[in-house]
Amino acid sequence: MTATTCPTPPRHRLTPLLAGLALGLLTSTASSAAMLDVEKDELKFGFIKLTDMAPLAIAYELGYFEDEGLYVTLEPQANWKVLLDGVITGSLDGAHMLAGQPLAATIGYGTEAHIVTPFSMDLNGNGITVSNAVWELMKPHLEMDAEGKPVHPISAAALKPVIEAFDIEGRPFNLGMVFPVSTHNYELRYWLAAGGISPGYYSPEDVSGQIAADAYLSVTPPPQMPSTLEAGTIDGYAVGEPWNQAAVFKKIGVPVITDYEIWKNNPEKVFGITAEFAETNPNTTLAITKALIRAAKWLDENDNANRAEAVEILSRSEYVGADAEVIAASMTGTFEFEAGDVREVPDFNVFYRYFATYPYYSDAVWYLTQMRRWGQVAEDMPDSWYDEVAKSVYKPEIYLEAARLLVEEGHVDEADFPWDSAGYREPTAEFIDGVTYDGTKPNAYIDSLPIGLKTGDSVVGAEVVAAAN
């Protein structure tokens, strides 16, 4: 009796199990068919503790890398030079880079290496902060609105009398930025020059960037900016988030302007790999790009709905590590200037919308024009040179291939990508000084800017020498 009834229940239990297994097999064939045959699956990426490393953290935490069959280790780096050297020597497979880094490395300014980028990581996200003492000196020169708050954007013209006062006392006015070819360096220089302050030139003999300078710019790693400002070594700095908001929270400085106000929707970080890596590992490069595009989409999805979760992830000590409220201050669409002066900046961090992740040639060309403007590129270059360099570093073709695969898999919308773009954005005049930038005419653009080298100029010794004619 008992012997005959016993075997039945297990058989019943087995049937749904088998069915489930069969279903699992069906779905798994669909997903693994999409997985690329990656050449290298154990990868190590470097990053600097800044909120715009978010696509990397998100792609890791949400399993997008794993979905592509990639086993990624993320490693914070001490500074931008260590990070770039890591990528060049191969101890890092790729990294969160300043847009200027792949370009400078490729043209041989600093360490020479052919670095390419298939993915632009974000737009905007930087700010310029001055110490409390400088802010007090600037205040009398600012235009105030009816509520007694300063009118934004604040021009560097308000800083000019402060620098003159420093000069009379015989004190140099020092500003920190994160790297000689960093976006922050160029944005800070753009802002200073637009306000009539010379940020100094580079020359092949003197790479300090302080030739004929009114304000002295020097390098400080991003996470050390607040402590360096607090120590009085610098009087202000240009850096990415969360280190401007950190100054507000620590009550040691006041952000005066965001880069969104200097140049609306300016390109910021890129994901850099060596050209050799991209060539020997084409499928891996595609897979990385796919994972990063999905992460960027998640960050901007549903009107920034996921930002709160992103802030929680970024505040972990292995990523940015700053307090969640400090990171949230800029990542959730607001920005706090003077303590209590919180303003809406919905596009302060853009990861996906406005085709933010597409590596535009025109973005590369803008950085190259600034390198020429401040003497990092010592000689005049023809317009064709700008185009060639941009095309050898920025790889929209890889990007679009990855995007196409994602569209086919149903992860992203067809409309999210500029399929027919020639790689140049429309000319724009959305700069603080209203100068129009057309990426296809770099030399004409350089000549139209105030302060800076123009066609034919060069830096000899400690002065700018104009063209002989």
């Binding site: 693994s32 154990e42 794993e66 260590v82 996470p223 607040p226 620590k250 940015v320 590590g321 700053a322």
Partner: protein, 357 residues
């Protein structure tokens, strides 16, 4: 009658044995820093409590009072120092962060387990589809937790100390035995002994990077760089003490050895080493202490994994819990340093006894 008279005799014997055992272990316990257990054990064994109380006061009460006073002063004074990261955290916040770091470790291990489950599932699916070739087994790529960093630091200091010992002990014996050798080595020792690890680090980094090309997973480059830096700085105390120990060996022993016509190898193993061991261990103990201090500095500067990097990362993070976490690390470094010293001291005690026997 016989039974009754026998019983007290055996219990008295037993008591006597117990006390002998306690007294014998006293040296070991105090070497391990547990000297205060001795009076407690004696009371438990039935000794006069009043007599032992004085002992207990010296070995337990005063140290506890010292720690208590420190904690109190810390708790009262810390909140009064305001930094840009908030007030200096007191013992309570530091304890809280200790818990947080532990939670963090547990959470990371869970994530790791989940990863392996996912990987196994994926591979099982591939096998079921008959695609065995595509099966991949990859290591988890999460961040190192606080406990991982401690283990890395211990491994590094262990490796560096091992290399230092292998180099320093033979050199020390040689310079203790031979005057000319000692004369030749001495100026070099005097020259390099005071060099700071931070000065060695850039050179070590370049040399190791150039020579150690095929880094294995068990000994990554960063670990070797830190370990070699530790070696360079912890070499000297062992070397100097070994030389001293060997040089101050009893002349009668050496003469006896000569009379017996012992070979050099036998002289070293049977005469020199046993009598020099106490001083060799004194040197080793000093070396390990120096090595541990040097390691933290090297990890901090070179961004090599370990407790030093943990401290630096937290400093860079600059969050409201960073200072408390750094204090957790400071205390951990102190406790581990203390334990390492105790281990060496115990070894030293053990070998000193055998050396006298």
């Amino acid at each position: 009658m016989t039974l009754a008279s026998e019983a007290p005799a055996t219990s008295g014997d037993r008591r006597q044995k117990l006390f002998t055992a306690i007294n014998r272990s006293a040296a070991w316990l105090s070497a391990l820093g547990l000297g205060w257990l001795v009076p407690l054990l004696k009371i438990a064994a039935g000794d006069d409590p009043r007599e032992q109380m004085g002992e207990l006061r010296d070995s337990l009460l005063f140290p506890l009072l010292g720690i208590g006073a420190f904690l109190l002063a810390w708790a009262v004074l810390a909140p009064q120092v305001q930094t840009s990261l908030g007030a200096i955290p007191g013992p309570a916040q530091v304890w809280e962060q200790t818990g947080a770091l532990w939670q963090d470790h547990v959470a990371e291990r869970e994530k790791e387990a989940d990863f392996y489950v996912r990987q196994d599932e994926r591979n099982a699916e591939l096998v079921a589809e008959g695609r065995e070739d595509d099966v991949k087994v990859r290591a988890y790529t999460g961040k190192p937790t606080y406990l991982d960093q401690i283990v890395t630091s211990l491994k590094t200091v262990g490796l560096g100390f091992l290399i230092a010992t292998i180099i320093a002990v033979p050199l020390g014996i040689a310079s203790g035995l031979s005057k000319p050798f000692n004369g030749a080595l001495n100026p070099l020792v005097q020259l390099f002994k005071p060099v700071s690890p931070l000065a060695w680090l850039p050179i070590v980094t370049m040399v190791v990077s150039a020579l150690y090309v095929d880094a294995s997973d068990a000994f990554p480059k960063a670990l070797v760089i830190s370990a070699v830096t530790v070696t360079l700085c912890s070499l000297w105390p062992t070397l100097i003490n070994t030389a001293l120990g060997v040089a101050s060996i009893d002349k009668d022993l050496v003469n006896v050895g000569k009379v017996l016509q012992l070979s050099t190898a036998t002289t070293i193993t049977k005469l020199v080493l046993p009598s020099a061991l106490p001083l060799i261990f004194t040197g080793l103990r000093l070396s390990l202490g120096v090595g541990w201090m040097v390691l933290i500095a090297a990890e901090m500067l070179a961004q090599n994994p370990g407790l030093g990097k943990f401290v630096w990362d937290e400093f860079q993070n600059g969050s409201s819990s960073s200072l408390a976490r750094i204090i957790v690390a400071v205390l951990t470094i102190g406790i581990i340093g203390f334990l390492l010293d105790r281990v060496m001291f115990t070894l030293q005690t053990a070998f000193t006894f055998s050396g006298k026997r």
